[in-house]
């Protein structure tokens, strides 16, 4: 009802107007309908026909498999003293696919990354060459210092693709004391990756490069796991879809006793200093089991330098050091054994029937064989003696004659029986074999043309071989196993550094048990003659090692000193000072070999060192073997 001033009007009805479709409105409507159809058609194409393909692309976008690196096994001494820890650290990672696509910006960023990682531009390039997955963060540098990590962290927002990742680096707790034993891990280089890649190693992983880290790589390295994660557009993990937990590496309990190791190290260093010698090594083994209880090579190095990838400068410094600190003399240093070889000469002669315990020979100041005269160390006649007395007096002329009776091939055979000329089966890489020479060997290594008379074995080679010169070479480890075999009644054992292996839960997977390499083919009564000689070295008034008593030796056992000349032939040559021993005399539980390079007479330089750590062992043996 409305009122327009003309009276009241009543609304009757509304008339629906007729639609007026102009041509243009119709055209527009048709166009709108057409466009809608085009959109729907396009959606059918995208979502139905190409849908599966785009779904896959979407997965590539969002789901990434992240490797979970297994924690490396920890190494302990035999009583559980931890020798290495996996220290949490920051690693600077780079995801190359996230770098700026602009070349200049990319170069600028890489230059800054190199600076943050304290790498040269070339080193970074070499490192990145190993990056096989552009979509996965690749560790450019692990073990950043706190300052480096902090600096990097501040720069992260302006460096796309660069992330800091929590990782673990190996930290060796007593680097100088254990560096040769434990060795170190280091980043895999391109060449190593070729062989390690198929075994499941990641290109930015570390791998044992030296020492037990390398020798026990398969034990220490766990099994890597993985995680399929959903990430958002910024690469942040939103959700873990599936996961395979890594299995950490196994824990290794070494046969080494830390206390004994330290004692051996300290006394060796003191002895070297006193003797004015720059290098030496000592190996202590258990003659009942073959377990190595201490093993020191001096000089040593800091293996922590290697754990995060050593700098070129540090590495050159170590390589150029004339004392060769990286060289593990205990297992790889091959030295003429000198008089310590005489038990082998004696064993060969006794066993081959060339002499008996009662064969008496003179010990003159010198002897002439062929055109050459060979002197005894004493330069005067020590009188008549049997083999039992020839060992403690260390009469050279006695053994010249014996060696001449036995011949080089038989001596070499017995030397091999005692472990010479074969790499001991220890868990360390790089152990040397030493040499048990024969005429054939001389011919083989002869630097002169074939047929030269200088390449033929001569009697001089034979007689000097009898006193551990000539071409005979042995490492301290071989010598220690040889001393152990003399002590334990002729059983050559395989040396081992591993006392026990446990899994992550502490379950013992492997416990060391003695492995016999061979029973040395020397009759017990003959061996006993040699052992008696070694015993008298310590106890007899005339023994070369009788000095032990004045050094306060608390124990009882057998030993042999050695003073091996090197650097040519003749007199007044420099000499390597040896001392090998076992203790106690009955049922020995200790055997060792010690060498001091260029340190004069074994009894004056090597023996005091051994006596001190033997005393340490004697005082602590219950402790050392507790829990065996």
């Amino acid at each position: 009802m409305i009122d327009l001033g003309l009276g009241r009007w009543v609304e009757l009805a509304g008339i629906e107007p007729r639609a007026r479709w102009t041509a243009r409105l119709a055209i527009f409507t048709t166009l709108a309908l057409g466009l809608s159809s085009v959109l729907v058609w396009r959606l059918v194409d995208l979502q139905l026909i190409q849908g599966p393909a785009y779904s896959r692309l979407a997965l590539v976008n969002r789901v990434h498999r992240i490797p979970l690196v297994a924690e490396r096994g920890v190494i302990y001494d035999r009583h559980g003293v931890q020798l290495v820890i996996n220290q949490p650290a920051w690693s600077l990672d780079l995801t190359t696919s996230a770098l700026p696509s602009d070349d200049a910006a990319r170069a600028t960023e890489l230059a800054e990354v190199a600076q943050l990682a304290a790498l040269s531009r070339t080193e970074l390039t070499v490192r990145l060459d190993q990056d096989t997955d552009a979509y996965r963060p690749f560790s450019v540098k692990s073990g950043l210092t706190d300052v480096q990590a902090q600096t990097a962290n501040e720069r992260l927002p302006s460096l796309p693709g660069v992330t800091l990742q929590r990782t673990a680096v190996r930290r060796y707790l007593d680097p100088e004391l254990f560096s040769h034993l434990l060795g170190y891990v280091g980043p895999i280089n391109a060449q190593e990756f070729k062989t390690l890649g198929p075994k499941g190693y990641l290109p930015d992983e570390v791998v044992g490069q030296a020492g037990l880290e390398a020798g026990l790589e398969d034990v220490l390295r766990g099994t890597d796991g993985w995680e399929d994660v959903l990430t958002d557009a910024n690469g942040q993990v939103v959700k873990v879809l599936d996961k395979q937990a890594p299995i950490p590496g196994r824990s290794v309990y070494l046969s080494i006793d830390s206390g004994l190791q330290k004692s051996v190290h300290d006394t060796l260093v003191a002895g070297l200093t006193k003797a004015g010698s720059k290098a030496g090594a000592s190996v202590v083994v258990d003659p009942r089991t073959g377990e190595v209880m201490a093993m020191v090579s001096y000089p040593s190095y800091d293996d922590n330098l290697f754990a995060n990838g050593i700098s070129q400068a540090d590495y050159q410094k170590l390589l150029n050091d004339p004392a060769r600190p990286l060289f593990d003399r205990a297992i790889a240093g091959e030295y003429p054994p000198g008089s310590t070889f005489k038990m082998i000469t004696g064993a060969a002669a006794l066993q081959e029937g060339k002499i008996t315990g009662s064969t008496i020979l003179d010990c003159p100041a010198n002897l002439t064989f062929g055109a050459w005269t060979y002197w005894d160390w004493a330069h005067y006649d020590l009188g008549l003696m049997n083999v039992v007395k020839a060992l403690p007096t260390s009469c050279d002329t006695f053994f010249y004659q014996v060696a001449n009776l036995v011949g080089p091939d038989a001596m070499a055979a017995y030397a091999r029986d005692f472990g010479y000329g074969a790499v001991p089966g220890i868990e360390l890489p790089g152990a040397a074999a030493g040499v048990a020479p024969t005429p054939a060997y001389k011919l083989q290594v002869c630097p002169y043309p074939t047929g030269s008379p200088d390449c033929n074995w001569n009697v001089g080679d034979t007689v000097t071989m009898g006193i551990g010169q000539s071409y005979v070479l042995a490492t301290p480890l071989i010598q220690a196993m040889y001393a152990a075999a003399l002590g334990n009644g002729g059983t050559l054992l395989r040396p081992t550094l591993v006392h026990e292996v446990t899994d992550g839960a502490g379950k013992v997977l492997q416990h060391s048990s003695p492995i016999t390499v061979r029973q040395v083919p020397v009759d017990p009564q003959n061996l006993e003659l040699l052992r008696t000689g070694m015993h008298q070295s310590l106890t007899g008034n005339w023994g070369t090692a009788a000095i032990a008593r004045s050094l306060g030796f608390k124990w009882d056992g057998g030993c042999k000193t050695g003073t091996a000349q090197f650097g040519g032939s003749g007199v007044n040559l420099p000499s390597q000072a040896w001392f090998i021993d076992f203790a106690p005399y009955v049922d020995p539980e200790f055997a060792s070999a010690t060498i001091l390079e260029d340190a004069g007479f074994g009894e004056f330089t090597a023996e005091p060192v051994a006596v001190q750590f033997m005393n340490y062992y004697h005082d602590h043996s219950a402790q050392i073997h507790s829990g065996d």
């Binding site: 009007w9 639609a19 409105l25 709108a32 466009l35 959606l43 995208l46 979502q47 557009a233």
Partner: protein, 368 residues
């Protein structure tokens, strides 16, 4: 229904945006109701002042606006960010509708065409320099649509088309670097998948991975994990399509098409020319935006910053669009020819074109 879908999608894309969008929606529904209640014919008087006010706002944006994403588009009014270019679309629509409506019989004259262009150019330039290419494109489309539907002569239309065709080659020189890049990427999207083509590719992956049924509401990963850029605004369709699949997308496009048909029908039944132009103008404006927005989401049209009407996040656009739809509703509500009878007499009144005409000779239309 569109509004609900829009809200759901905005919600799935961003919860924070959702709350503000809900607030905007309340305002927008108010604007709709107001526009529908007011007789659209009364708007005619308000149009010129509104046009002036709109130009002032756009100028204000230039001098006092807030920059975002490399462009200055917003001004704050009482703490609410306002995007005048969105409102200016609707005002431009009204201006053009009035312009063509007040000249009955003169729509074919060249003068009308030139005046229409003259009216459109100032706001267009102001918007283009914000820069807001998307809205400027809507303006251009609106102008073209109104010229076409407003009844300009074929000769003039062809002439204008020719001028545009000649001017087209110089367009790239006027575009900003990123706008040129968008065009290049549109022509070859795979040329730089991690750089400039990233948005396009990711949006397409989102749409494609939706498949027939979609991942379900709130389960679109591309969208929720941030791979789809501008997921509450320009690329909201991709987020929607990922969640609801082909069926959902077809439904959405179907609803838009229905809306479009309804707008065209409204135009066809509008009781006067202004109403007709108003309805068809709204149809042109929404149609262009929908096609361009969905088109760019599925890689059919170049990327331009145009939101999906009624769906995308953005208060100003929602209010402006609903106000425009309200105006159409106002036309619809007044489309009927009302027949009155004087209580005492047998005379009839018709209301048409806003005037009440006494027509004593008229037979009852009901009996006719």
């Amino acid at each position: 229904m569109l509004l609900v879908l829009g809200l759901m999608t905005v919600f799935s894309a961003s919860t924070a945006d959702f709350r503000r969008q809900l607030l905007s929606l309340v305002l927008a529904v108010g604007a709709y109701a107001l526009a529908a209640a007011v007789d659209y014919r009364r708007l005619e008087r308000l149009i010129l002042p509104a046009y002036g006010f709109c130009l002032l706002l756009l100028l204000a944006v230039h001098f006092a606006g807030n920059a975002a994403l490399g462009a200055q588009r917003w001004i704050s009014i009482a703490g609410f960010p306002l995007e005048p270019s969105e409102l200016s679309k609707v005002i431009m629509l009204l201006v053009l509708a009035r312009h063509f409506a007040v000249r009955p019989g003169r729509e074919r004259e060249l003068r009308t065409v030139v005046e229409a262009i003259a009216l459109a150019v100032p706001p267009l330039v102001l918007i283009l320099t914000q820069p807001d290419l998307g809205t400027a494109m809507v303006f251009a489309a609106l102008l073209a649509g109104m010229l076409f539907l407003g009844g300009s002569s074929r000769l003039h239309l062809v002439g204008l088309g020719a001028i545009c065709a000649i001017a087209a080659p110089i367009l790239p020189h006027l575009l900003h670097g990123y706008q040129k890049q968008r065009l290049e990427i549109f022509l070859n999207p795979m040329s730089d998948p991690l750089g400039a083509g990233y948005n396009l590719l990711q949006a397409r992956i989102a749409v494609g991975s939706g498949g027939l049924l979609g991942h379900g509401w709130l389960h679109g990963l591309q969208g929720s994990l941030g791979f789809v850029p501008e997921r509450a605004t320009d690329f909201i369709f991709a987020v929607y399509a990922e969640q609801f699949g082909l069926i959902g997308s077809a439904v959405l496009i179907g609803v838009f098409t229905a809306l479009m048909l309804r707008l065209c029908w409204s135009a066809s039944v509008a009781p006067d020319r202004f109403g007709y132009l108003l309805c068809s103008g709204v149809a042109v404006m929404l149609c262009f935006q929908v096609v361009e927005n969905i088109g760019m989401n599925v890689g059919l049209t170049p990327i331009a910053g145009i939101p999906l009407p009624l769906i995308s996040y953005g208060g100003s656009a929602l209010v402006a669009n609903l106000a425009a739809l309200g105006a159409v509703q106002s036309v619809m509500l007044r489309r009927r020819l009302l027949v009155y009878r004087q209580a005492s007499d047998d005379a009839y009144l018709l209301n048409e074109s806003g005037t009440v005409r006494l027509d004593p000779g008229l037979k009852s239309p009901l009996s006719a």
